[in-house]
Amino acid sequence: MRAFIFQRATDPSAAVQALAAAASANSPLTEAAVQPLAGGTTLLDLMKLDVMRPATLVDINPLAGNWSTIDFDGGNLKLGALARMSDVAAHPQVRQHYPVIADSLRLAASPQLRNMATLGGNVLQRTRCSYFRDVSYSACNKRHPGSGCAAMEGFNRTHAVLGTSDQCIATYPGDFAQALMALDATVEITAKSGVRTMPFAELHKAPGRSPEIETVLAPGELVSAFTIAGRWPRSLYLKARDRQSYEFALASAAVALDVQDGVVRDGRIALGGVATVPWRVREAEVMLKDQRLDEALAARAADAAFSAAVPRRNNAFKIDLGKRVVARALQQAATMEIRA
């Protein structure tokens, strides 16, 4: 960890001003000299590991008054970026109308971390790739563009099979983002120039040739809220992992269905633990439309979800596992009891 300056932002414009101060055109957010600090559950770890070396931290927790809303107006849901994971997971209306959100948060991390971590920080949490998090490995295209990828031929059991490139196979580790993907959420971004919104699905960038760039956010931009249109009571998050709690997904599926008279009107599937970014599988979703969901259809959709998968030496199991998780999640969602 390097010595740093600690600033406290008292309002959103001060925050983005401070964050934009050190912005340089070529620097990705993750490498910016000024970093926002919310729950700190990822950033402080990475600073102690010397992976992130910001010169300044801007504490945005004072913005929580306006940015930690959990607002359900009967039809739509708005979640502030500084809402704590535990508060959202326990919220009765979230649990009733958006079980996939509550599940994805409840099944993540530990109670202590969920009490600290914010939704905004959660969606931006960085990969758990061991080679990324250990600076003694010189080859990491995320840390040092062009240096290579130690994971590619290394121990890569937890790495991604979807959305990879020849530069990076690091898995996107989060759970909540899959729920946002499945629900077609919108993300609100606050910047010096004002507030803008865009589909959440456009926030993250697959590694491609520039794995060091993980989102479309520029230095000085902050995720401030998420909105979800409509209610999704028939939705769930299924997570397969090595231990029963406090563990990242080896494969997970966020599934949301609109079923009327036994027929799927709209079906959404997003995958976690298997892809480099939050991963929506529209090619599988279209197969569900206007169909009756049975075991065979679920299996076909699951196959389609992984049609583009590229395994490495230790992670090929994720393809088969991921398919079973998708198939099971779809069937569970189709048959789940909906609370009125």
Binding site: S130, D134, F155, L238
Partner: protein
């Protein structure tokens, strides 16, 4: 009485609360790194990023800019220390790879620099700014890597005595009715105690004080003195509490003498707290092992031939091996037995003791094979053990001092509901879950070592016991206080215990589960001496008995029959007769069969442990039976363990509360060793990949919802005076086999390689 404090049965002490419970739960207990130091310099290690090669040079310019930096010590300016000698070969050290001695790199994560600064933060920042250039060579990572060399353990390592054999295995196996040949593998594992590897060194007037979590303060004191080339009397090691050790803090690691030498040069206290990932490479670990088991049996299940071949990874520098064939060849009746242990060298740090070092990997192989054989014979696996149960070990035909293996199986089976188990695999389901039940035997040698103690009794009934034992979470304070209270006839609350300090009378390493047997035997003996002083005042004419002839424990101060017995003592009257207010006694105890140099070795911090299979005319082991229920999700193949049941018989139980706690932790550890714990090695670089507590999987509470410990009464008068069999390493043995046996019962799939991950489960 509660679940945590079970009602004592025959030959069990009271489940009194832990002596150190309040200081621990209130945060008052001071661990090594908590000790206040005057103006310390903070040390931060830089470790190698390659496993083999040499350092070409350092660029320290960036590091030197950090405010508060004091010095950076590398092989170019480090003090030269004396040649290290391996613990298992008669020395003190965990490894003979000596860091900072040259530019050579022999292992991943070798200490290559120590950064010193006025604050921890400055030391860490400067360490992160150290740039190292290497010439790397291609390292050998493990068994299947090119460049390994393999040789028999026998002759390389004095700790490994023999490859046990008896009869004619080849002939008997060839003619056996039923044959089984199977190979098994266990993974690399690290101890990962909660408390990190910390060392603080303070010099004062030529006297060195070391604050370091240690399972062997006298070993550490003498080992560091030897490395520094100073008199051992100039060194004191203090650690009243150890925050978990599991074997990792038993032998001396190179860091201590390095930090001591730096503190001497700086003339300032130096404090080091190594990071979690550094702990994977600056100390020891459980090396990966491979096994081939061959069993020949008759149709009725009797073993007629058994062969166990084991191979273990060690470093290039050191021939470390755990060699568990000494028990796997002796556990069951069999007339024709053969075995061989090999050591396979790779470019790794030297492995070392880790909780039940031989038993965990070697019983995984044997107890899995027994289950396979039972299935082949269409026999209940418990009945197979019963058919082959024996009161005499087959290699030397020596009698077990006591053996309650089948009683443990029967008690455990009752509690677990074993009779309702389906013998046929893959027949029980519960919703999405396949359900399976498995069992295995556990055993651990009963071991003892010389120990000394000082006991002071006051007229008012308060007592103080001094012994350099170790509180590693085992309950050492508690059982020592109980032993003294019991012998002195005073309440437990009136006893003060001082341990964890090398200025106290020496006790053996808190390893090999010998602590309670050794320290309590010594404390009880010295309490007898105290009673003797008092009885003598009351009964001046009672004659002494010659203890050297009558009991184990030679060379002890003779005490009378009255003092030895449980005869009540009118303490105040005795003190008045003596005319003083305090009686203090010191004594040195050694177990029967201990070598002649035992007491000298004890003061020199060298182990003279006896027991287990290495006694002349008998064999002493504690036994148990473990039962596991697994559930496997048919969609995700996730493996969960809702129930663990263990039944154990371990001689006298000093305290059912601390015993249960140890065994419960052991059962969870054992389950974890089957399903979770494995250190992953990058095969190209011979480096540990998951060297942190997020990626090195340990069970969380949700992974062990149901754990039941059953303590069986057992009395054994042929072991040590305390009648105690060590149980600290009994709980986590065999559990790995029981898990895999349960997985077979659930799925029909036999898994012979640990850990079992969800991807290892077939559809």
């Amino acid at each position: 009485m509660t679940i945590a404090a079970p009602q004592p049965k025959a030959n069990m002490g009271q489940p009194v609360p832990r002596y150190d419970a309040v200081p621990k739960v209130t945060g008052q207990a001071q661990y090594a790194a908590d000790m206040p130091l005057a103006n310390p310099a903070y040390a931060y290690l830089v470790t190698s990023a390659i496993a083999k090669g040499r350092i070409d040079g350092f660029d320290l310019s960036d590091a030197r800019k950090v405010r508060g930096l004091i010095d950076i010590v590398t092989h170019e300016n480090a003090e030269k220390l004396k040649e290290p000698k391996l613990f298992g070969n008669g020395g003190y050290m965990s490894t003979t790879i000596q860091p900072l001695a040259s530019a050579e790199i022999a292992q991943d994560g070798q200490i290559i620099a120590v950064v010193l600064a006025d604050t921890f933060e400055a030391a860490r920042e400067a360490a992160h700014r150290v740039k190292v250039s290497y010439t790397a060579a291609t390292p050998t990572a493990s068994f299947d890597s090119p460049g390994t060399t393999s040789a028999r353990a026998k002759g390389q390592l004095s700790q490994f005595k023999e490859d046990p054999k008896v009869g004619d295995f080849a002939d008997a196996f060839a003619r056996a009715d039923v044959k089984l040949v199977a190979s098994y593998e266990t993974p690399t594992q690290h101890h990962n105690p909660m408390e990190l590897f910390a060392t603080s060194c303070v010099w004062s007037g030529g006297q060195l004080t070391i604050y370091e979590p240690s399972q062997y303060v006298h070993g550490l004191k003498n080992g560091v003195a030897e490395q520094l080339g100073i008199d051992a009397d100039k060194v004191r090691v203090i650690n009243p509490y150890v925050g978990g050790a599991f074997g990792s803090k038993g032998s001396v690691t190179p860091r201590t003498a390095i930090i001591a030498a730096i503190a001497r040069k700086l003339n300032r206290p130096v404090k080091l707290v190594a990071t979690r990932d550094q702990g994977f490479t600056i100390a020891t670990y459980r090396a990966e092992t491979r096994h081939v088991i061959q069993i020949g049996a008759s149709h009725d299940g009797r073993l007629v031939a058994l062969r166990h071949e084991g191979a273990e990874i060690s470093s290039r520098a050191d021939p470390y091996a755990v060699g568990g064939t000494k028990i796997t060849t002796r556990l069951y009746a069999c007339l024709n037995v053969d075995s061989m242990v090999s050591i396979v060298r790779a470019d790794r740090n030297t492995p070392g003791f880790m909780r039940s070092p031989p038993e965990v990997p070697y019983l995984f192989a044997l107890e899995s094979a027994m289950d396979e054989l039972a299935f082949k014979l269409d026999m209940d696996p418990i009945e197979l053990r019963r058919v082959n149960d024996t009161m005499n070990e087959p290699i030397g035909n020596k009698p077990y001092t006591s053996r309650s293996l089948m009683a443990c199986f029967d008690e455990g089976a009752r509690a677990f509901g074993w009779s309702k188990r389906s013998m046929r695999p893959r027949t029980v389901t519960d919703g999405d879950w396949l359900v399976g039940h498995g069992c295995a035997a556990t055993c651990y040698p009963t071991q003892m070592a010389p120990a000394a103690a000082r006991v002071r009794l006051q007229r008012d009934g308060r007592a103080r016991v001094e012994i350099a034992g170790h509180e590693i979470g085992n309950g050492a304070y508690t059982v020592i206080a109980q032993a003294a209270a019991d012998r002195l006839g005073i309440p437990y609350e009136k006893v003060t215990v001082a341990i964890g300090d090398s200025d106290l009378p020496p006790a053996p390493v808190a390893g090999g589960s010998n602590s309670t047997a050794s320290t309590c035997s010594a404390v009880e003996m010295v309490c007898g001496q105290v009673r003797q002083r008092l009885f003598k005042a009351l009964m001046p004419n009672e004659g002494l008995v010659d203890k050297t002839k009558e009991t184990v424990g030679m060379g002890q101060t003779p005490v009378t029959q009255a003092a030895q017995s449980g005869q009540p003592l009118d303490r105040e009257k005795a003190f008045d007769a003596l005319g003083i207010s305090i009686v203090e006694e010191y004594g040195e105890w050694k177990p029967e069969g201990a070598p002649l140099d035992s007491f000298r070795a004890m003061h020199d911090g060298k182990m003279r442990m006896v027991g287990g299979s290495e006694m002349k005319d008998r064999i002493a082991y504690a036994f148990g039976a473990e039962f596991v229920e697994v559930r496997i999700n048919r969609w995700t193949h996730e493996i969960r363990v809702p129930r663990l049941v263990g039944a154990f018989a371990c001689g006298r139980i000093m305290n059912p509360r601390t015993a249960r706690s140890q065994l419960m932790g052991g059962l969870i550890w054992g389950m974890s060793s089957a399903l979770l714990e494995a250190t992953e090695i990058d095969e190209r670089t011979a480096r540990y990949v998951n060297d942190n507590l997020a990626d090195y999987l340990l069970p969380v509470n949700a992974d062990a919802p149901g754990v039941e410990v059953i303590l069986l009464p057992e009395q054994d008068d042929r072991i040590d005076p305390a009648g105690v069999k060590g149980l600290g390493e009994l709980g986590n043995v065999g559990t790995n086999a029981a898990v895999c046996n349960a997985i077979f019962n659930a799925t029909g799939q036999r898994i012979r390689k640990l850990p079992v991950r969800l991807e290892n489960i077939e559809a």
